[in-house]
């Protein structure tokens, strides 16, 4: 059996590994969001809805995307928030 001190040591090591992975992944993602800023983005949403807009930003927990010039089937919305829950994926060119 593992003594409690050895267990807590390996837990600490595991936690450190996890935190490192988390920071690398998050930095890459934030740089990706930064790169998307002011670009034309195509959102693929539920029920096979596809809309285009200019990407502005997202909130820190990625619950909403702020966009401009959202092209909807009934017209262009100058500024809009898109709920992340309604989105399946989005694409842009670099």
């Amino acid at each position: 059996s593992i003594s409690s001190s050895a267990a807590s040591e390996s837990d600490a090591e595991e936690l450190q590994k996890e935190q490192h992975a988390r920071s690398v992944l998050r930095e890459r993602f934030l740089r990706c969001l930064l790169a998307a800023t002011n670009k034309k983005v195509r959102f693929h949403m539920h029920e096979n809805v596809n809309v285009e807009a200019t990407f502005r930003t997202s909130d820190i927990d990625v619950l909403n995307f702020q966009v401009s010039d959202l092209h909807t089937p009934i017209g262009v919305q100058k500024e809009a928030l898109i709920r992340c829950q309604d989105v399946i994926s989005f694409t842009f060119d670099m």
Binding site: A21, C32, A36, T91, D93, M94
Partner: protein, 96 residues
């Protein structure tokens, strides 16, 4: 490969970084690409597809990811290309 992508955790997601993957999402969608990262907050997957002089970035939002499968390991050149893809070309100077 996993039934709950959202709860997999950073160490699991990290295994897919820089690899060419197939992501199943939504009802019956499939996306292929080089996996740049997985946002540890929303579990969203960022895929890159390189073309001649441009790249297509595909972000699959975490809640719609059903499955991720590795297709190919990267060579060192691809790893470097992915690592530096979104990095700024110049380092900002922070001195006053």
């Amino acid at each position: 490969m996993q039934c709950n992508w959202l709860l997999s955790g950073p160490l699991h997601w990290f295994r897919f970084v820089d690899k060419q993957v197939r992501v199943k999402a939504g009802k019956d969608e499939e996306h292929l690409g080089w996996l740049l990262t997985v946002d540890p907050v929303s579990a969203s997957v960022v895929l890159l597809n390189f073309r001649e002089d441009a790249a297509l970035v595909h972000v699959v939002v975490g809640h719609s990811v059903k499955n991720v499968e590795v297709l190919q390991e990267p060579d060192p050149e691809m790893t470097e290309r992915l690592r530096s893809f979104f990095l700024p070309l110049t380092t900002p100077i922070l001195d006053p």
